[in-house]
């Protein structure tokens, strides 16, 4: 399959990107160092380790999605490796999809490795792991899939730097959207309606955030996880469709 050929190639290339290893190193360091913070606490050390581990997985996953994702299409155009590919008898969206899946596979690997490191560390420190911890990691991955789709979309229309800024902004805004539901009372009328509407349009990344529950050992309903994943899947698909459309008419 053409899509798989492109995906396979993308994965191979991304694995070679040195940025990846720098970020992995820093995230591993952060996870291992989190125990030091635990010493100051009065018995919350495992919670702190879990919190920082999941935050590291999330943050460094986002950075990988941004640094590699925004470069994905742009690099091909800039380096002209794309010329001999676009002229092949394949549909343009197959190229976009292939690039995306390659990076998604890489992110799966990275997330799994970091989660394994964090889990092992928690066990070594005498803590326990529950389902919520792994579900939190799964939802982090789901969030990364969404942000990567956005990065790929931007990669085919703009430069990596602008793309990186926009994805990072989307990340921050996406976690802040809950504020649109808790507006102060003096905002009313059209403004209020618009803001409430914006809540449904903007990507609500906090849907994927059950890290606090994971660190505190709280059970999360499977139906919540399922709906969050459905939300992510739909949003990601929309972004990929937009990316394909943007790329369809692009002059290379």
């Amino acid at each position: 399959m053409i899509v798989l050929a492109v995906a396979h190639n993308t994965f191979r290339e991304a694995v070679r990107d040195k940025v990846l290893y720098v970020l992995l190193f820093f995230s591993a360091t952060a996870i291992l160092a989190s125990k030091a913070l635990g010493w100051i606490s009065i018995g919350q050390d495992i919670k702190i380790v879990k919190d920082i581990s999941l935050a590291a997985v999330a943050l460094f996953g986002v950075l990988i999605a941004i640094f590699i994702g925004t470069n994905l299409i742009y690099k091909e155009i800039d380096k002209r490796t794309i010329y001999t590919i676009i002229c092949q008898p394949m549909r343009r969206f197959e190229f976009i999809l292939g690039k995306y899946l390659g990076l998604a596979a890489l992110l799966a690997l990275v997330t799994a490795v970091m989660t394994a490191v964090a889990s092992g560390y928690v066990l070594v420190l005498g803590g326990t792991l529950d389902a919520t911890f792994f579900l939190a990691a799964l939802l982090i991955y789901w969030e990364l899939l969404l942000l990567t789709a956005l990065a790929v979309l931007l990669s085919s229309v703009t430069s990596p730097i602008l793309g990186a800024i926009i994805v990072f902004t989307a990340f921050m805004v996406g976690h802040a959207t809950s504020i649109l539901n808790e507006l102060p009372d003096h905002i009313s009328g059209v403004t209020r309606v618009m803001m409430n509407g914006a809540y449904y349009i903007l990507p609500n990344l906090s849907n994927f955030n059950i890290r606090a529950e994971a660190a505190n050992g709280i059970v999360v309903a499977p139906s919540y996880v399922a709906w969050a994943m459905a939300y992510g899947a739909i949003y990601t698909t929309v972004l990929l469709v937009l990316a394909s459309l943007a790329f369809e008419d692009k002059d290379v």
Partner: protein, 309 residues
């Protein structure tokens, strides 16, 4: 059915802030017959690469039509019929030629056995075996060009579209490419390529088109183009006095100069040259050289540029 048909092709680029608009291709029309080698000439910026990119679905034309064997050039079916070699081809640096050919074979939808076969035949033809397992990263220009050719041939397409296939190659490399193009024609393929190297074009092309400022100013069979021009003949003579030579030149209305090698006369046309030679001999001169100067493609090319210059 023609291998390539281009009808009234236009391409317009608007810069992002709408200030400058560029028209690399303005009303271009030409055809390429099946099993023909067509040379596409033009200066830098004349629009050659833009035209080629449109034929290969990298760009969309603003208006006009382009088709490959009757199939619209922007379609998937057309892409199946062509093999494209871009100028300065880039490949994934960390792959080997074998892996590269395999990758493109997968993009073409070939099965594993088919890809293996392609590798065997292409690597043989292009002498890729010695470098088959080395990473592209360290390749010279010549090696990359050979690999690029190989990539263009994956899937055995009928129409090959090459953008400056000889650029940057040494004479050995250029010859290899020329021979390859010959071979492809013998195999029944159509080859359409752009070039600066006029000597090569003259040698291998059946037809040429000269692109000036986005439109075709000349098109035709090479032999026809060259034969349209009148040959000049340079006659170098010895044994004449300067005054004698001068008067001979004047009476025949030919250019003349005197040098260490003797008196050099430039006569238009073979017949006139023969007649003049007789007169020289009659005047006691000795023919040292009788050289018909053929009009080269370069001359034609340069002439075409003048209106633009």
């Amino acid at each position: 059915m023609n291998a390539i048909t281009v009808t009234d092709l236009h391409k317009k680029y608007r810069s992002h802030l709408g200030r400058k608009t560029a028209y690399p291709v303005k009303g271009l029309s030409f055809t390429v017959a099946p099993n023909e080698v067509f040379g596409f000439l033009g200066r830098n910026g004349a629009g050659k690469t833009t035209t080629i990119k449109i034929l290969c679905s990298l760009l969309k034309p603003t208006s006009g039509a382009a088709s490959i064997r009757g199939v619209k050039a922007q379609s998937r079916a057309a892409r199946r019929l062509i093999g494209y070699l871009p100028e300065n081809p880039y490949f994934y640096e960390y792959l080997t030629p074998r892996e590269t050919i395999d990758f493109y074979g997968r993009l073409r939808g070939l099965s594993r056995t088919a890809r293996e076969e392609q590798w065997q035949s292409i690597s043989d033809l292009l002498d890729l075996r010695p470098i088959a397992e080395r990473r592209v990263r360290g390749f010279s220009k010549g090696m990359r060009q050979r690999l690029g050719f190989g990539v263009a041939m994956v899937g055995d397409p009928d129409v090959l579209i090459l953008d400056e296939p000889m650029s940057g190659l040494d004479p050995v490399g250029r010859r290899q490419i020329r021979e390859l193009i010959h071979l492809l024609r013998e195999r029944g393929k159509t080859v359409f390529f752009s070039s600066h190297v006029l000597g090569d074009v003259e040698q291998i092309c059946d037809r040429v088109g000269i692109l000036v400022d986005g439109t075709l100013s000349t098109e035709g069979r090479v032999s026809d183009l060259l034969h349209r021009r009148v040959d000049r003949v340079e006659i170098t003579v010895g044994g004449l006095t300067e005054s004698k030579a001068k008067s001979l030149a004047k009476s025949a209305s030919v250019d003349w100069r005197r040098s260490g090698a003797g008196d050099c006369f430039v006569v238009d046309g073979l017949e006139k040259a023969n007649a003049f030679a007789q007169r020289v001999l009659g005047a006691g001169g000795v023919l040292r050289e009788f050289v018909p100067i053929k009009v080269t493609l370069e001359d034609i090319f340069m002439e075409e540029q003048e209106p633009a210059a």
